[in-house]
């Protein structure tokens, strides 16, 4: 954590130390870390000059964990212990698996009963997708810290826009496990829009078409005076370039008329050969899939570009139908889109570009590297969220949405939607429910996500119970359930019986995520840090946070002195002085308590400052209009 420079209250603080912040695109096939250096976003390369880190982790003999290109080399000879495309398993259970993914690894579950989050059996034990992702993130963190020469303050991690709550939570857990301070989970197409919009000074309505290795997103954004407003988003978290490879592999397999199923190693080799052929077909008219099975035996088949287009057409069609639906959700016609921005390596496929050109009547925009644009946008956002931008003029604002509706199960297995999809976040909604039976004292709440009307067709996120409802006649209790989605797109739910004030609350941590305790214990065992180290760290953090609060508040007291009467001003000043003296001591709990108290005491002042800012925003607008 970076330390802040402190000036006397009343003096304008010096610009604080620049905090090291990165954006990370945690991709299905490749991951990238980027940062802002000299006001320019750039991807950080490894020692070989490669910016892309293959999202592959090998759990090697002897306990080593190998990440990236080196791990990928063992996809053939150590297939079961070399994990690729782990992003497809994030926030998923064994029951969610389908198709060939199942053949690749040995899966298990925490209790071996097929329920809960899936784990992949390796020679180093059963690994959750969160742990595998954390190993990729650790490699990127190490790369960034070496390259930037210091400890990272925080990171923005990108996720597919269509990720549900379970997948987002799993991603955040992976980042925490890797020791990263998560500044924000940012939707990939939104990140791309930021990088593209700021680079090209674009204004207008843009459609982001993001076809990655394993996920597909389409988002429509309005870019206006530094505000990036997402109007609608749609996607498929199980569609991507990997599917193109698999289609080619199946074609080869069928052509060769192989009589028995491939071993994991054979399958990995065939997929690698298929991917190479796909990449060759971007520019060539014909490519060869060739697999050496060992023992002097090999197979090969030629694939023409026409054949490739035919094989991948169903996938391209699926993406185009999502494009049409997103336009419909945004209430826009294709002609009203000012530009289509391509994101993700799979958008190099010529038939994808052709389909978009036909639909929009103009070629898609490919001015930025489709592999890097997401990480670059994340880096820009990370820089801003780390507080490295001071002037209002240079900062931008993202208004993103939730991709899938959130609701509760009601009688008969039906879903009552509380927050509809494409709602701008942050968002909070409350709805009242009542009891079904006379004297009912508890109520089970089942939180689901999805668009379908039946609970069984939606994703179950969490179940919790509100107990202690006073016995009443059926229908007379008033249970107010509040859904709140924060800027990361993560949901928390609380329920209160309003006549008696009985309260229950959950942050939705589905059975697919990790509990905070689990993360803490994993972190502890990872660092094997002594208790005193932990305490020293807690004290250091409490001090930094307290002093940041003192600086911010002292400054606000000078700027907005007029918003307080003398007594209020004196009261806040005395609490500031008290907190400053505590921060010189060693009692981290006292510092935290006093910080909380000061925050509480300054809430009214914060509200008044906000009201003044709002008045200025509205008046400023009118002046602009008059001119």
């Amino acid at each position: 954590m970076a330390f802040l420079q402190i000036s006397e209250p009343g003096e304008s603080p010096e610009p604080h130390t620049r905090r090291l912040a990165v954006g990370i695109d945690l991709g299905t096939t490749n991951s990238i870390v980027a940062t802002i250096r000299n006001a320019v976003p750039e991807c950080l390369p490894d020692s070989n000059g490669h910016t892309m880190l293959p999202s592959a982790v090998q759990y090697a003999e002897g306990g080593g964990v190998i990440v990236g290109e080196e791990a990928l080399k063992h996809r053939g000879d150590d297939a079961l212990n070399t994990i690729t495309s782990v992003k497809r398993f994030m926030g998923r259970s064994v029951a969610d698996l389908r198709g060939d993914a199942e053949a690749r690894y040995n899966f298990t579950t925490p209790n071996g009963d097929g329920k809960g989050s899936l784990k992949i059996v390796t020679r180093q034990g059963a690994m959750s997708p969160i742990e595998v992702s954390a190993d990729i993130l650790k490699a990127l963190k190490a790369r960034a810290e070496e390259s930037l020469g210091g400890e990272l303050y925080g990171a923005v991690i990108t996720v597919p826009a269509y990720f549900d709550d379970a997948q987002r939570q799993a991603t955040k857990d992976a980042a925490k496990l890797a020791g990263l301070n998560v500044l924000r989970l940012l939707n990939e197409p939104t990140a791309a829009a930021v990088a593209y919009g700021l680079d090209q000074h674009a204004e207008g309505t843009f459609l982001i078409y993001d076809l990655g290795g394993g996920t597909f997103d389409v988002s429509i954004l309005r870019l206006s005076r530094g505000v990036f407003e997402v109007l609608a988003t749609m996607g498929d978290t199980n569609l991507g370039g990997d599917d193109f490879d698999a289609a080619l592999a199946k074609y080869a397999f069928d052509t060769w008329a192989l009589t028995r199923a491939l071993s994991p190693a054979g399958q990995a080799n065939l997929l690698a050969a298929s991917r190479a052929a796909k990449e060759a077909l971007t520019n060539a008219d014909v490519a060869t899939i060739r697999v050496d099975w060992g023992c002097g035996f090999d197979s090969k088949v030629d694939v023409t570009r026409e054949k490739f287009i035919e094989l991948t057409q169903p996938f391209v069609d699926r993406t185009m139908s999502a494009v049409k639906r997103t336009l419909r959700d945004a209430k826009l016609k294709a002609g009203e889109i000012d530009g289509v921005v391509l994101v993700g390596g799979a958008t190099r496929t010529p038939s994808v570009r052709a389909a978009l050109e036909v639909h929009f009547g103009k070629p898609p925009l490919a001015t930025m590297n489709p592999d890097e644009v997401v990480a670059l946008g994340a880096a820009i956002q990370a820089d801003q969220l780390a507080g490295n931008k001071s002037g209002e003029g240079e900062s931008h604002l993202l208004l993103d949405v939730i991709p899938l509706s959130l609701g509760l199960e009601t009688m008969g297995g039906l879903v009552e939607k509380i927050i509809p999809r494409n709602s701008t976040i942050p968002v909070a909604k409350a709805q009242e429910f009542t009891t079904f039976k006379d004297g009912q004292t508890a109520m089970a709440l089942h939180v689901v996500q999805g668009e379908r009307e039946l609970v069984s067709d939606c994703r179950s996120l969490a179940r919790f119970e509100l107990r202690g409802i006073p016995p009443m006649v059926a229908g007379s209790a008033r249970i107010r359930v509040t859904f709140q989605v924060d800027a990361d797109g993560l949901l928390s739910v609380s329920a209160t019986e309003t006549t008696s004030n009985v309260r229950a609350e959950v942050t939705v941590k589905p059975s697919y995520g990790l509990g905070d305790g689990e993360i803490a214990s994993m972190l502890q065992s990872a660092f094997a840090s002594a208790n005193t180290d932990m305490q020293a760290r807690a004290l250091a953090e409490a001090r930094v946070d307290a002093l940041a609060l003192v600086v911010a508040l002292a400054n606000a007291l000078v700027v907005d002195r007029a918003l307080l009467n003398d007594a209020e001003h004196a009261a806040l000043n005395s609490q500031i002085t008290h907190l400053k003296s505590l921060a010189e001591g060693n009692d981290h709990r006292a510092i935290v308590r006093a910080s909380e108290a000061l925050n509480q005491a300054s809430t009214d002042f914060a509200g008044r400052r906000m009201d003044r800012a709002v008045r200025e925003a509205l008046t400023g607008r009118d002046i602009e209009k008059i001119i």
Binding site: S321, S395, Q484, S602, A606, M610, R621
Partner: protein, 170 residues
């Protein structure tokens, strides 16, 4: 604080949508939590609450049916009151005919017809909105309430048409 005063706009049905959208962006630009990364926790909390309020107000005002219902609520009328659902018979019969038409077009996978119906319904919604605006301004709240309910019916039909079209695109 009501939704209209949030945007410093008069409480009328006939809002300029571009003006509303532009004020929404200006407001979010000054209250959004991302503007307060170096602020105190108290300020972050207040920013979060305000951003939620502004989003809620914008969502309510940009949708014509929600805007009409909200205007009625400002004069203490619950347009969604389930105890009072009486609607003119001819209007209800018309609704049934529309619904049958939609189901029929969807069954025939006639997307051109569905598009046509969706656009007819959209102009119907717009003209109901104009009439509502006049009735509300003239303080004929009973008439306005019936019109708002009609708008809600028509909007449901539009949603059905859109969802049938979306299904055909699958």
């Amino acid at each position: 604080m009501n939704y209209f005063s949030t945007f410093d706009l008069p409480a009328t049905f006939a809002l300029s949508q571009p003006q509303l959208a532009s004020r929404y962006r200006d407001l979010q630009a000054s209250v959004h939590p991302d503007r307060f990364v170096n602020a105190t926790d108290a300020e972050k909390r207040v920013a979060m609450e305000r951003a939620v309020e502004v989003n809620e107000a914008f969502a309510a005002l940009k949708d014509p049916v929600r805007r009409a219902m909200y205007l009625l609520s400002l004069v203490n009328i619950d347009g969604l009151d389930e105890k009072d659902t009486s609607m003119p018979t001819d209007f209800l019969i018309e609704q049934i005919e529309w619904r049958e038409g939609l189901v029929d077009a969807a069954a025939k996978e006639d997307d051109a017809r569905l598009e046509e119906m969706a656009s007819e319904l959209a102009s119907m919604l717009a003209s109901l909105g104009d009439t509502f605006a006049a009735a509300y301004t003239g303080e004929h709240f009973k008439v306005a309430t019936t019109l708002a309910r009609k708008m809600r019916f028509v909007q449901k039909l539009i949603e059905e048409a859109e969802s049938a079209l979306a299904d055909l695109e699958q």
